[in-house]
Symmetry: C2
Subunit: 368 residues, 2 copies
């Protein structure tokens, strides 16, 4: 795919810097320092790393060729320039020149200090990150990892349901969920445990007493394989007909949306299915610019990042088999609070598979 991108933009190189999951995805190499991955139309497939990381890069990365900064003459330039950033920029420039670069492509978040130096020597074009695009479609191996994290979430959620009989404080329950997941090998942060009227803000992580109903939104990553999953259930604790109706509506909207997901459908169609169902039931949606009701998008891709491509909103993206994303309709009214139900699905040729299979409506009223 990168060769097509280079051809399309009439460029000789694409450069991916370290610091985000696109670098990891492209190289399968984790590094806390600065490193660069070069893909060239001449067949260049080169990872440039600090000297200390050279051996590990050769061992762990999937890139064809590894060079260290020393190999590229960085330290001679540093001695002369006495400025690490300038020396690094000129080292990369010299390397690109020796390989005949006239135009180079970089991703949107490529660092400014390199760009300003590159611009003195080449044409530079900022393009959408090609790896972000590639990451949207998962391999079966990646799907297994997301499934693994999904099962861990279900275990943690069942633990939370048991605790709900005695723990009635948002921060305490969040802490118990995150501790349970950590012991199990997963890292969850900012887990939403949001209760009562305050849950009307979908981004509020929740504090104070748990009463009426509680929205639990858990999105950990594996500490071993680093893949995320994402799951929300709304638990009914006390009688409130409005909340129960909202929850039934959201479950219905999700069910309908999931039923249409398959290869070839657009993101927009999924999002509009959710809006249609909710509007038919008399609720307001973001489609009509309301600030209460269903006020966010239907979903987002999940993988090495908890938010990645594809977006499931008003965009025209066509779903492909292997895409993994959330379907998470919610309804939010300041008068009653918020409800949401969220599952992760993988798109298949003729339908979709839910990776976080679990009952949608959780009612703890009778069990108290």
């Amino acid at each position: 795919m990168l060769n097509e991108v280079l051809k399309e933009h009439d460029a000789q190189f694409y450069i991916q810097h370290s610091g985000d999951n696109n670098f990891y995805y492209a190289t399968k190499f984790r590094i806390p320092n600065s490193a660069f991955y070069f893909v060239g139309s001449d067949g260049t497939d080169l990872l440039v790393v600090p000297d200390m990381e050279g051996d590990r890069a050769k061992r762990e990365s999937v890139v064809g060729e590894v060079s260290t900064l020393s190999d590229l003459g960085y330290f001679d330039r540093l001695k002369e320039l006495k400025n690490t950033k300038k020396a690094l920029a000129l080292t990369l420039v010299e390397f690109l020149k020796t390989r005949g670069a006239k135009k180079v492509l970089v991703p949107p978040n490529f660092p400014a200090f390199l760009i300003v130096e590159f611009l003195k020597h080449f044409e530079v074009e900022v393009i959408e990150n090609p790896f972000s695009e590639m990451r949207a479609v998962k391999s079966e191996e990646e799907i297994e990892k997301i499934k693994d994290t999904s099962f861990a979430i279900i275990r943690a959620f069942e633990h939370a349901l048991k605790l709900l009989k005695r723990v009635r404080d948002c921060d305490m329950l969040r802490n118990e969920i995150e501790l349970f997941l950590f012991s199990d090998g997963y890292l969850a942060q900012d887990t939403i445990v949001s209760s009562g009227k305050l849950s009307a803000d979908p981004h509020y992580i929740g504090h104070g007493k748990i009463e009426e109903h509680v929205v639990i939104d858990i999105f950990p990553k594996s500490r071993r394989h680093h893949y995320y999953s994402d799951f929300t259930r709304t638990v009914i604790l006390e009688d409130c007909p409005e909340i129960e109706e909202m929850l039934d509506a959201v479950i219905e909207a999700q069910k309908k949306a999931i039923s249409i997901i398959r290869e070839g459908v657009t993101a927009k169609e999924v999002h509009h299915t959710v809006c249609d169902v909710l509007e038919e039931m008399g609720y307001q949606t973001i489609r009509r610019k309301y600030r209460e009701g269903f006020i966010h998008s239907t979903g987002h891709g999940v993988g090495l990042d908890v938010h990645e491509k594809p977006k499931i909103f008003e965009n025209d993206d066509v779903l492909k088999a292997g895409m993994v994303f959330t379907v998470e309709p919610g309804l939010y009214y300041r008068k009653w609070g918020g409800v949401r139900v969220e599952d992760v699905v993988v798109v298949r040729k003729n339908g979709c598979e839910v990776l976080t299979e679990y009952p949608k409506k959780i009612d703890l009223r009778s069990k108290r």
Copy 2:
């Protein structure tokens, strides 16, 4: 300080984007999305955030003025351009123009997609991040937070020492340490538990059996206040005169280095003190370009990041009261393995204070 920077570079604006701790340090506002902090020579002190974050930004940030993307006309531009990045870049350009910008300053990691648009309208200069510099000197409040995390490390280390009587596997012990810290409110990742000959690689996190001796390097951050600390001890488990001599040498070098730290001393002087002591004892050091012996720098600043300014190496930086950094001499020989002792200190006017006070030499031989 930023006003001086603007004057010095004859610029009207400095722009800090979200995504790293410099943004948080400057604004005291945490945000997963894109946000921008503008400081102007005309007194501009403005935070630009997505619409949904406007209220929270007003509540939580320390910035004088908050605008949302809507306020700045982003959505009108988006409707016209149908490209979120282009619309964002032009929104910021228009804002800067209305406030009379002719030259703007940005940090080294400022995103490429904005820079290329800015360059069409203004002079742009990439400067060292002024907040990185400011962050090197801590307030007493920040020092208390680093001290809090330091105490948590000591608790976890004492727990590890108890476990060492029965747990003799690197991964198991790492997991126990990280779990203990997580329950205590701290997040540790990639904790080094490295044993025997393999500990000769200072960056190897350690796997397999614990035998001979073990290097335990713990560097968590608080899940509440987000400040790190960093601490290493080498535990002797079996007789090995070479390792014991290396450990004694490293302890002596650290003691001497700590004894000279005070306001006005240079980073270089601290580093050379460590090298002097180790070389006098017959060990090789990085100063003579050896690849065994003391092969890394003496230390690094600790705060919101586990590695920040100041660097304690061959640099001329002058230590200021309030700077917090590690002093971590080590010795690494493939034949014997590695040893290291690491503490965090805060520079004071007439000396320094050790925040991770704990016995330096841990010998578990007699206790087995």
